[in-house]
Symmetry: C2
Subunit: 138 residues, 2 copies
DNA sequence: CTTTGTGCAAACGATTTGCAGGATG
DNA sequence: CATCCTGCAAATCGTTTGCACAAAG
């Protein structure tokens, strides 16, 4: 799951996105972490690479990346939006104690049937949000 | 599932909430509907009963009701918060076309196992959000 | 009469937008 | 060089808060 600079640039280009230092930094950062940072955390990191980068740039990079499907956003908490470079099928677990959010393998909920809802509803997708206490907090 | 004025007042009192016209109106409104209105919609309705009621009052009523468990909030969409007087266990379905949100019986996802996640996670609750197209929109 | 709620307006915090100058392909 | 991106500041939008007055029990 390691990504070289060249690979990241290639990915961005393949999605027809211009490769700017800001955009590269945001995407590389997201690819390299397992947690699901907020915009605030991402901006702090981005500013280590590009000190002059503004929120507007961060948000526009996130929008561009999301627009081509390279990242998704995770809305588990009130008010804030978190970001995730893992765009494969998976659900989320949020620790009620420390707030950490981790991925849950899709197969663990595979048995959720899509045809079981009331007649007339065409199910296109679903997501399971699990809440509890993680091992570190117990 | 019909609620009389007296019953609603009784419910509020049993939760040690003072019964004000504003609070009553908000709760009665939520009890009487199946959809999941936003604060904006609730305020519009509230102002039909109490024209002088402000947003601050609406939000404080909602907070009070939520605090004693009479309502819950539903966060399915970006930015807005929706409210639901159905506090029993259930999941939600959101139509990707018209945005309507309806309840999904808990049993339809009963088979979602709570002990199936990775070792170390203590699951306390989970919710399933289903997205698709409702019958009216098809 | 004590406590809690209301209503106004101002404050907030996350995200968005307008726009002039700058970088990318 | 045409297009798209950046960065600044100001704007937006849902929700929250401070505070003086009013209502509930």
């Amino acid at each position: 799951m390691s990504h070289t600079t060249a690979e990241i640039i290639e990915t961005l280009k393949s999605k027809k996105l211009r490769v700017t230092p800001q955009r590269f930094a945001v995407y590389a950062n997201l690819l390299g972490r397992e947690d699901h940072p907020t915009a605030e955390q991402l901006l702090r990191d981005l500013n280590k690479d590009v000190p002059t980068a503004s929120q507007a740039t961060l948000y526009s990079s996130l929008q561009a990346l999301r627009g081509v499907g390279l990242i998704r956003d995770v809305r588990i908490e009130e008010g804030v939006c978190r970001y995730d470079a893992n765009v494969g099928l998976h659900h989320h677990f949020r620790c009620n104690s420390c707030g950490a959010i981790e991925d849950v393998a899709w197969e663990n909920f595979q048995q959720v049937g899509a045809g079981q809802l009331r007649v007339g509803l065409k199910v296109e997708s679903y997501e399971v949000t699990v809440r509890g206490v993680c091992d570190r907090c117990q």
